[in-house]
């Protein structure tokens, strides 16, 4: 493994992991835009991820795709075996496991350990080298149970029944996880959603997820503002305070994101309600996971690299921050 301009490069198999520039051979951990991109010659990913990439137009007709379900071993060439283990991040998200000459390297992509009803749970894969992200690698990030956050939203709807709760969520993963958890918490009204969330929600449904009744906001008469009072509207985060939100009666901007834990961040986003909903591992889970893999070496790709590197070294684990250029800016999803 080495780091090249395009990202991680597996030398014997001649392929990149989550490259951000078009390459000949790419292994893709999951469908978020900071991991999956367009223009590759060959792509290896889970079948779900390939479907997501197709939905987002990341694969062209000439792209060759190989869908590998979790656990299925595949010869990548050059003596390298590749298989995917679930990462618990979003539908189809995977850790890419590379085996070569008795050595095992796991590129975890993005992952989380908190339960998520919309994707397979994280699987610990013992390895020699573990490559991890560090998005929330500070002791201040201790993600609360999702049920608590959803209860916060329900409480707000009880206190302010006349307001339209507009929840900003990423289209892939966050949106579906929030909807599913709300259903499990007993929310029975239809969800009103922004058009940008439609296709990926349908894709989740094609994999057997059930979100109950939902309807596109654009299909509802503009004059019917009161329809949304006391209901939940879902849209991409940028829309909560934008022109789009003016069509609702008394909108209450809500953001669901791991960053909402930090008050100043929530205020910055002009969220009146911040739901701490993270698709990434929090501080304790990052440390626990690195420990559980038994890896003697941990490479840290992006996020709060310093803190994680320091804490792992203190535990006697050889850790190294890689400071991948370009990833830091895009680490939104």
């Amino acid at each position: 493994m080495e780091i090249r301009e395009g990202g991680f490069y597996c030398v014997p198999a001649e392929c990149y992991v989550d490259p951000m520039v078009p390459v000949t051979r790419a292994v893709v951990t999951h469908g978020h835009a900071d991991h999956a991109s367009r223009g590759h010659g060959r792509v290896w990913a889970t079948p779900e991820t390939i479907d997501i990439m197709r939905t987002r137009n990341y694969v062209a007709d000439e792209t060759q795709t190989t869908g590998l379900p979790y656990g299925q071993r595949h010869d990548l060439g050059g003596g390298v075996t590749l298989w995917f283990a679930s990462a618990g991040h979003i539908l189809g998200s995977a850790q890419a496991v590379f085996e070569y000459q008795g050595q095992r390297i796991v590129a975890a992509g993005d992952f989380k350990r908190h339960p998520d009803p919309t994707c397979a749970p994280f699987e610990v894969v013992p390895c020699d080298v573990f490559i991890t992200e560090a998005t929330f690698a500070l002791p201040v990030f201790q993600h609360p149970p999702l049920e608590d956050e959803v209860e916060k939203l329900m409480r707000s709807m009880r206190t302010l029944p006349d307001r339209t709760h507009i929840v900003g969520v990423y289209a892939l993963g966050k949106c579906q996880r929030v909807m599913k958890t709300l259903r499990l918490a007993g929310y029975e009204h239809p969800f009103y959603i922004h058009g940008a969330l439609k296709r990926l929600t349908e894709l989740y449904e094609s994999y057997g997820q059930d979100f109950g009744v939902w309807q596109l906001v654009s299909e509802i008469d503009r004059n019917d503002k009161d329809r949304f009072r006391g209901k939940i509207v879902l849209c991409p985060p940028a829309q909560i305070n934008d022109r789009w939100s003016r069509r609702f009666a008394d909108p209450l901007p809500t953001v669901a994101s791991g960053w909402m834990q930090i008050r100043a961040r929530a205020r910055q986003k002009r969220a009146e309600l911040g739901l701490v909903v993270s698709d990434h591992a929090d501080w304790n889970d990052l440390l626990r996971t690195c420990r559980e893999t038994g890896a003697g070496m941990v490479w840290i790709t992006h996020g709060r690299v310093e803190a994680l590197e320091y804490a792992l070294k203190k535990e006697g684990i050889n850790a190294k921050g890689l400071h991948l250029i370009g990833i830091e800016e895009a680490a939104g999803e």
């Binding site: 002791p139 201040v140 990030f141 206190t159 834990q261 100043a264 002009r270 009146e272 803190a307 203190k314």
Partner: protein, 534 residues
């Protein structure tokens, strides 16, 4: 009601933007929460708690004992603030004491107040171990009285007034006469009792304030028949109140500063409320503000200090006497009462503010020049309309202040930066701003920077204030709570498109630190137009 409900309330208020919604949230909480919890919550939000439950330093010490210092530092740096860092990163005790339920808000307050030092420590740890991050945040902010949730005292009073169905003015008067946990107030709001009777309670009465004179527009309004001129003394504006043998001296913001001036308080053997300027009188002469400063903030001044710098009041106005309020009377009528009142007081302690002779505006200019030549004793002139009642707040065209040169501004400290050389460990470079209307909201816009004008002692005080009021960090620049007012002096100002505020100051320096002045009373950006003669 459990502490959890209080923490929920703070979170809801914190994240709500509109004032109306904040009022709705607060009144909803106050309606459904029993006494005394709601009263303590009100005190926390209204900033009327008079004691810390625990010290900030204890919180820091606990964290340093439980967490790797480097990770703590990284976390704090990232979050930008101590309480929130602790709330989020609190490491559970290895064998935590588990509580079956969180105590009520008043139980928390009672426990902390009755415990000794080690007891306070143990209780704080137990609570933090049993709380969620937002609850910990609420506890830490409550305990160290650092609660800032963007709700002004005025909004709090308005909420209560609406609940009681009365004008906010009623609450203004009541507010300083009642104390936490406000059971009498809520009994009245609930309709179970009469309005709390504060006629027998010695309280601060909201004061009347002045507008800076607009030379272009206001001078034409003045005539000796309609307006009085008085010196504007450079001391501190106070209110001296006496009732039933008790005495209080209040700052203009309502803080009780009697303990700093026991010599003046001891002379109060009357029932009245007098508005005036507090100064000291070394060698029988009115002293400068610097002289006075030696007595400000001294909790227990020594006999020697009081002898060297005895306190003195120059009386401006009388608000009430023997239970009769004069607020509705004209200034002329109040002045007669005041003259009679002061005539019976000892001139060592009380004098009446002199009514200055003038006939033309040029006379006033001359007097103002005289003030400018008083070596700082007099700040300028006060010009007051003779037929106005005593209205709390800042009524228009009633009282004008006409300050002497140089140009002075009351600006709010916004950012601080470390100095260089000898000052490299101190925050010694200050950026300050004025209030402006930005898209319908009062916002501070930076107007200038100053590095000098304060003593070494003041530098230390400022440095420690800044360290206790950090908000966020931008590289070397530390943003602070917008709470501290500087009186900034400068030679001239000009328009500058490079500055966000549109102005640049020439030779700005800190002429005084206004520890006594609330930030919202700092100057507005519009004053610059007047200053540069626009």
């Amino acid at each position: 009601m459990s502490f959890a409900a209080f923490a929920d309330l703070l979170d809801d208020l914190y994240f709500t933007n509109s004032t109306l919604a904040k009022e709705a949230i607060l009144s909803d909480y106050l309606r459904r929460t029993p006494d005394p919890d709601r009263g303590w919550a009100l005190a926390a939000i209204g900033g009327t708690l008079s004691f810390d439950l625990f010290k900030r330093n204890l919180v820091k010490t606990l964290m340093e004992e439980r967490m790797d210092p480097y990770l703590f530092q990284l976390s704090r740096h990232y979050v930008g603030e101590l309480s929130e860092t602790v709330a989020l990163a609190w490491p559970q005790s290895s064998e935590p004491v588990r509580l079956n339920r969180l105590p009520d808000l008043h139980e928390v307050i009672d426990e902390f107040t009755r415990r000794d030092k080690p007891g306070i420590r143990a209780y704080l740890v137990t609570l933090l171990d049993n709380m969620s991050p937002p609850q910990r945040w609420a506890l830490l902010k409550l305990g160290t009285r650092g609660l800032r949730i963007g709700m002004s005292a005025r909004t709090v009073k308005k909420t209560l007034a609406n609940m009681a169905g009365v004008d906010v003015g009623v609450l203004e008067k009541l507010w300083h006469g009642i104390t936490p946990p406000y059971t009498s107030l809520f009994a009245w709001i609930d309709g179970n009792a009469e309005m709390p009777d504060i006629s027998n309670v010695l309280t601060y009465s909201p004061v009347m304030l002045s507008h800076p004179i607009d030379e272009a527009a206001d001078l034409d309004r003045l005539s000796p028949e309609t307006h009085h001129a008085e010196w504007k003394w450079d001391g501190i504006r106070v209110q001296v109140a006496g009732m039933n043998g008790e005495a209080r001296i209040y700052s203009r913001t309502g803080d009780d500063i009697s303990h700093s001036f026991p010599d003046l308080a001891a002379t109060v053997n009357w029932d009245a409320v007098i508005d005036g300027e507090l100064l000291v009188r070394p060698d029988g002469q009115i002293g400068s503000f610097n002289d006075l400063q030696q007595r400000l903030g001294k909790k227990k001044p020594s006999g020697a200090l009081m002898k060297r710098l005895p306190a003195h009041l120059i009386a401006y106005d009388i608000i009430s006497e023997n239970g009769v309020s004069f607020r509705d009377q004209t200034l002329d009528a109040r002045r007669k009462t005041l003259e009679a009142f002061i005539a019976e007081r000892h001139p060592d302690h009380y004098t009446i503010s002199e009514i200055l002779e003038w006939t033309t505006v040029d006379d006033l200019r001359g007097l103002r020049q005289e003030a400018a030549d008083s070596e700082g004793l007099k700040e300028g002139l006060m010009v007051k309309r003779r037929d106005t009642p005593y209205v709390s707040g800042r009524p228009k065209h009633a009282w004008y202040k006409w300050k002497r040169d140089p140009f002075l501004l009351d600006a709010v400290l916004m950012y601080a930066q470390r100095g260089t050389g000898k000052r490299s460990s101190y925050y010694s470079d200050y950026t300050f701003g004025l209030w402006a209307n930005v898209e319908g909201e009062a916002k501070l816009l930076p107007i200038g920077k100053a590095y000098f004008g304060f003593t070494d002692e003041e530098l230390k005080q400022l440095d420690s204030w800044i360290r206790n009021h950090k908000v966020a960090r931008y590289g070397p620049v530390q943003e602070v709570d917008k709470e501290l007012v500087f009186e900034v002096a400068f030679d001239s100002a000009h328009e500058s498109p490079r500055h966000k505020s549109g102005y640049a100051l020439r030779f700005p320096r800190i002429s005084r630190i206004r520890w006594d002045k609330p930030a919202h009373e700092a100057d507005r950006l519009e004053i610059m137009d007047t200053l540069i003669g626009k």
